[in-house]
Amino acid sequence: MHKIRKALSSMSASLLAIAAGLLAGFIILLISNPANALRGLATILLGGWNNGMKGVGQVLYYATPLIMTGLSVGFAFKTGMFNIGAAGQLMVGGLAAVYVGVTWTFLPGAAHWIVALLAGMLAGMAWGMVVGLFKALLNVHEVITSIMLNYIGMYGINYLIKNSHLFDPLKNQTVNVAAGAVLPKAGLDQVFYILKGKYQDASAVNAGILIAVGLAIVIYILLNKTTFGFELKACGYNRHASRYAGISESRAIITSMAIAGGLAGIAGALMYLAPASGMHIHVAEVLAEQGFNGIAVALLGMSNPLGIIFTGLFIAHITVGGSYLQSLRYMKEIIEVIIGLIIYFSAFSLLVRDVIARAGKRRARKTRLLAAREGQDNLSIQKEVDG
């Protein structure tokens, strides 16, 4: 019973954080264009529903990499590590997947995209493992290595793409992956579309969302039901006691960072194993934003893999909602600010929970004092209550 209550109380903190973020967003809407502010807020809250089932599909589509990077960051959090390198792991994983997707055309049928996906995972794992190795063997803090590796990854990828057959110089991005390497739709395009005349305008959603949700469940089981997860979490809580109990701390750090990297690598693969109309890796000096948004997704989901599914969906929801805001003549930047605010507030969600708890106590004390006033020392207690 108390487990359920605990889950509810941490959820209420997340919801409160979101509400506060939305309120702050509303104030910004009011400032920038008061006439449309209410409609603007409604648009954000509606998210994908602004555009029927296609919009909902888009939410699922955008949520896919966010859930994956959220899992990556959340998993590392559980084992006491801060993986700020999800962006780099995602890009490295993405490139590996694209490489296999473009080049290994000898692979038959579904094997092609599956192998490409695994390649993305392995590349991400390797990238994450470097961080773990540095931490475990040389005691270099993971934040430093993973930030460095973000940039090494980004520039390295740009270099590799530009100097290989993967480069499409006209669009300054990677070439299309082979048809067999494109993630299957898994029938989702038959659900998430809108009719334009007789034409079904389907959303970009694909099997990626199913893979992401499935992996979230796998990670949940891994963390909570296995001896392996027991050891990893033990290291996260108290590495001294874990060592004392015979757990190899170095191994835990290396494997946990490898898994976190692998999850982010899969995020990249799921993003870029897309048809010609979908996402490609741009040769630009920009780190993948999904990597950083993963931090917010993990925080807001309290690092719980199942919570992360919902917070990933939520952030995608308001992002898609925000894209429709432009029809109300809001600048694209405004929605970025609002999302930023919600993310910012999410970091305070634990603080918010504390405040609620304290407010509860204060009420209890006041009643106690009032009861005590029945006693002899009327005057001085009166002062306490007034003061």
Binding site: H2, T227, Y237, H240, A241, Y244, I247, A364, E384
Partner: protein, 509 residues
């Protein structure tokens, strides 16, 4: 003015599943030393935490000088002149003594620290109360005893009149305890009022004026110490008559289980923390390593258990283990009750059953193909909870952090004894425990010995050493300086060896 500087009247405090304080009243007179006696989990720390503003009581009134006050947090307590020395000190380890004392109440001019002023005040207080400190030493470099004096000076520097000591002697050597008693008497004679949480009867008899006894969250009585006896206090605390000595037959040692040859551990700088130590622990005996804190005991244990690298040979039942990782040593039959239960012994954010299975979760019984069998873990934990009488609010699901120190320690002892080890290394196994729990753990150790296990006990408390040890090895500056037969040695003689003023020339096993 009221006779009483502090009155806590009808205090009630609930925690999930447990009523920690049930209508407790406590009156502290000006200038007295008032002991608060009770077993672990009796509610002593809770009551003091309420006075110090860390918890809020559900019911009851606190009065200062006869007037009701509310204390919402330690700052408000501080403003009322209430200071507290916690059992686990609250010091910044890489700050100096002086910096720690002034932290939070720094005197400054235009935002610039004025340490000179603070220094002269601290040194004046230090002289006045006989609290010897080195103001420029870093906290991490000074002894526990001096750290405690720093905590006391922190209270005096804030001009607190009511001083709460939470089990202050738990971490001290016999000499330091003497010193603390002297300091406390000095403070009281200067008009400070002292609340002294303890479960050591000798200390109460030595230093306290009055004593309030708590049991299971209720106050049993407040007595004048002069008119009472240790036996009477113990009976009130435990609720039944208890004997202070345990039944222990002479040891019948068998073959060597743990053999250590020429073991050395590198200390800070060039000095060796453990220097060429050789000894044996045989089956069916308790060997105690006695010594003043900081003479290499911790490092010796870390080397034996694999937490720290070492040179030399360690063998368990003839098999060399000094190069093995910790888990392999555990598997070979080494159990370890660690010195620092919060750092090494427990994962405070795991619950009771997870902590009880911390060394067993990999066994066939508790996992299948890597999946934890939660039902087995739970029933195993429930068994240990019953057998070792571990008290908690929510049984196996209780978060370790929320349990009392004594029950946390019982958790470790239960876990380590139940893995059925060849050798049990117990470091201060009863540190911070009440008489009841202490006797219980002592009995368990003797029982394990009589089952033919080897026990290596490291203790700073002479009473414990003489209560349990069959053989005593004295460690001084990283070397074993004496081997003594426990039955034929006096505390005085042992004290001389511990202080390094006497050495055995003859070589020893």
């Amino acid at each position: 003015m009221s006779d009483y500087i502090i009155e806590m009247l009808g205090i009630t405090k609930d925690f999930p599943g447990i009523r920690a304080n049930d209508d407790i009243s406590l009156r502290l007179r000006r200038g007295e030393i008032h002991a608060l006696l009770g077993e672990n989990g009796a509610g002593k720390s809770t009551l003091m935490s309420i006075l110090f503003g860390l918890y809020q009581a559900e019911e009851g009134v606190i009065k200062k000088d006869g007037r009701p006050v509310t204390i919402r947090d330690p700052n408000e307590a501080n403003a009322l002149g209430i200071g507290m020395v916690h059992q686990h000190f609250k010091l910044v380890h890489n700050f100096t003594v002086l910096e720690n004392i002034v932290l939070g109440v720094e005197s400054s001019r235009h935002g610039v620290l004025r340490m000179d002023e603070a220094r002269s005040r601290v040194m004046e207080l230090s002289r006045r109360y006989g609290l010897l400190i080195d103001p420029d030493a870093l906290i991490e470099q000074i002894t526990v005893g001096m750290q405690q004096r720093v905590e006391i000076l922190k209270m005096l520097y804030r001009e607190n009149e009511i001083l709460i000591f939470d089990e202050p002697t738990a971490v001290l050597t016999p000499q330091e305890i003497e010193e603390l008693m002297r300091i406390m008497r000095g403070l009281a004679s200067e008009g400070k009022s002292i609340l002294f949480i303890t479960h050591k009867l000798a200390e109460i008899m030595a230093v306290a004026d009055r004593c309030t006894v708590l049991r299971k969250g209720r106050s049993i009585a407040t007595v004048d110490v002069r008119d009472s006896s240790p036996e009477e206090l113990a009976e009130m605390m435990v609720g039944r008559k208890i004997s202070f000595t345990i039944d222990k037959q002479p040891a019948r040692p068998g073959e060597a289980v743990l053999s250590v040859e020429n073991l050395s551990v590198q200390g800070r700088g060039d000095k060796k923390a453990v220097d060429g130590v050789s000894f044996e622990v045989r089956a069916g005996e308790i060997v105690c390593i006695a010594g003043i804190d900081g003479n290499g005991q911790s490092e010796l244990v870390y080397a034996l258990t694999g937490l720290m690298p070492s040179q030399g040979r360690i063998a368990l039942r003839g098999r060399q283990i000094d190069q093995l990782p910790i888990r392999r040593r555990n598997d070979q039959g080494m159990a370890h009750i660690p010195e620092d239960r919060h750092k090494y012994g427990l994962i405070l954010d795991y619950d009771l059953q997870q902590n009880l299975s911390l060394k067993r979760y990999l066994s066939q019984e508790m996992q299948r193909r890597g999946f934890i069998r939660f039902d087995r873990v739970r029933s195993y934990a429930q068994g240990l909870i019953e057998r070792f009488d571990i008290r908690s609010g929510q049984g196996p699901d209780t978060l370790m952090r929320s349990m009392s120190g004594g029950n946390q320690q019982k958790t470790i002892v239960a876990r380590e004894i139940d893995i059925d080890p060849e050798v049990l290394i117990a470091v201060q196994p009863t540190r911070g425990l009440d008489v009841g729990a202490m006797i219980y753990i002592h009995e368990q150790l003797v029982r394990v010995r009589d089952e033919g296990k080897a026990i290596l006990l490291i203790s700073l408390e002479l009473d414990e050493v003489f209560q349990l040890a069959d053989r005593i090895l004295v460690i001084y500056e990283g070397k074993l300086v004496a081997e003594l037969d426990a039955a034929r040695t006096t505390q005085q003689e042992l004290g001389l060896y511990m202080a390094g003023s006497k050495k055995q020339e003859a070589s020893h096993a």
